[in-house]
Amino acid sequence: MNTQQLIEDTATKIFSDHCDKALLDRCEQGDFADDLWQQIIANGFHQLGDAASGTTLADIFAFLKVCGRFAVPLPMAEMLLGHSWAAGQLAPCEGLVSIGRQRGDQIIHVPWGRRAQRIFGVEEHSLAVCVADAPVCVQEGNNMAAEARDTVELGSATQQITLSDDPFAQMALARTNLMAGTLQSTLDLGLQFAAEREQFGRSISKFQAIQHSLAVVAAEVAAAQRAADAGVDALGTDRFIAEVAASKARVGEAVGIVAEQVHQVHGAMGFTHEHRLHHFTRRLWAWRDEWGNETYWQRVLGARIAGLGADQAWGFIATRG
């Protein structure tokens, strides 16, 4: 078994045991998932991407796919990428690490900014990121999935570090992989519901209209998995931004189709708070807009191709990997 498979299997086991609907409901009310957090640390997942742990940056994204499958209510992308960004450049931070978008003296849309002890501020088109080691939370907020997204001020202790892979694109890729995992679960929920729900004397999965909806969903989910992997494979290459652009744009497009169709399959049940579907679909809707929505990344990719010209477009698309 390779490292990535081991990571995926272990994470799946932990989240199956410790990340259920009750926890998601609690966290939506503002609780921090301390117990789950302890489990993650006890299993060493906070060290993913650390050369010392024998894992790579790519393993972080594989882990995030699993987090997405369980709608893990913790800022795992920010913790893990923040940790990897600090490696060799900053003193380790024992507390919560998060990442947001820098705007003047503030960092906005910071997952759990209210609790974070180190926050990275990212700007578009810049390899430099600002590090705030004494951030001050000035406004608590949420995204549409009720995940904490806060505004902080930089505070007294700030410095700058420079990364080799574009940080804004890394964050977009993190959302892309989270979405890929969540999309998978959304399909699974749709399949399960269609099999269990009976109308007109039979399981609704026997109706062609439902079968075709779920076939469309499956196709989008399959495309999303492949697109998300392609972004990860471009880490460290000069195609990184372009591949992340294709990846986030394509996965974001899948989100719109999948969430709509799976809700339709679930009928009114899926519209209740009691059903767990919304924990997944609301995250998908929130994440597709974070760190650049589809249009943003389509423009990035389109401008690159327009710059190459019509007769070079195929050469750009027809890669080996």
Binding site: A215, A219, A222, A223, R226, R299, I305, A306, R320, G321
Partner: protein, 382 residues
Amino acid sequence: MMLQFDRVELDSESDALRHHVRDFIADNKDHLPQPNSDFVTGHDAEFSRKLGAKGWIGMTWPTQYGGGEKSNFARLVVTEELLAAGAPVSAHWIADRQSGPLLLRFGTEQQRQQYLPGIASGESYFSIGMSEPDTGSDLASVRTTATAEGDAYRINGTKIWTTDAHRNHYMICLVRTEAATENRHAGLSQIIVDLKNDGAQVRPIANMAGGEDFNEVVFDNVLVPKDRVVGEPGNGWAQVTSELAYERSGPERFLSAYRVFVELVRICGCEPTSEQSAAIGRIASHFMTLRRMSISVAGMLEQGKDVVVEAALVKELGNNFEKLLPEIARSVAPDLSLESPEAQRLFRQTFEETMLLSPSFTLRGGTREILRGVIARGLGLR
């Protein structure tokens, strides 16, 4: 339900091959590009013979039958380069993709020796004889009969939508060799018909795009030697279903509208508006993803895996995208009346031709509805 499209990286040999194909295309500019990348529309025997001479037809087949014993990846590289360039590939396409592999897998030794070398050299072309006037998606309902008579079969019935039957040499025809029973899939056979010599009447049917590519083929007591049956008589159903899997995941299932993309990029120029950039990027993000999925399936074929569901997924996504692409393009294309005549000509010709062909994208090779059924079965829904 995990839908696995593994990461597959083409090897460095593929780069050399790719450049070789591009050089070949550059040397044969008089044959291309056609205004579209549709694999059905350009029938050019001379071009097919040139490809055959390069060893780019029947690439994966054993050398003893004229093949090159190359990988499915090598074949993919050649086919996608040709389609992206708008090369006329329809003459040999079906024989290379489908009929040849079918004969290799199920045909008799004599049939392989007789037909495969001609296909590989780009000189012998095949059509698919499946649909009938009353048989479309419900393939098992075919009514064309082949009745044993001494050393021959007597064929009666009508095939329809037979692409290039009026140009090609052979057709592999799905027929009933035994009367229909409760098991609709029993009693079907595939038989090779010589379109030039057996006496089948071929009548072209004009399509809405102004082309005459498909045909009606009428069999009125046509006698065909018994040794033309492919594989075992009665095994036709198993054979056609395996054949259909070959034809569903290749680059021709998402590249049909590729030239529209090229001309869109050209007409938008090096300083596109932000809407134009977004449209170009959106189209590219689909191409990049579909292409990787198609390569994943080639990898599964290479490992001898069953790809029925994965191929259907690629075709479902690819065909829908082929139809979406011209819609995206027209939504951001500049006002053509303000552009140079040359720019207008290229974009408009490509766009209009592809638009007119687009209804066929989600029909041929299994309709969208049939494919969704295949996927649903793979998902355990039926």
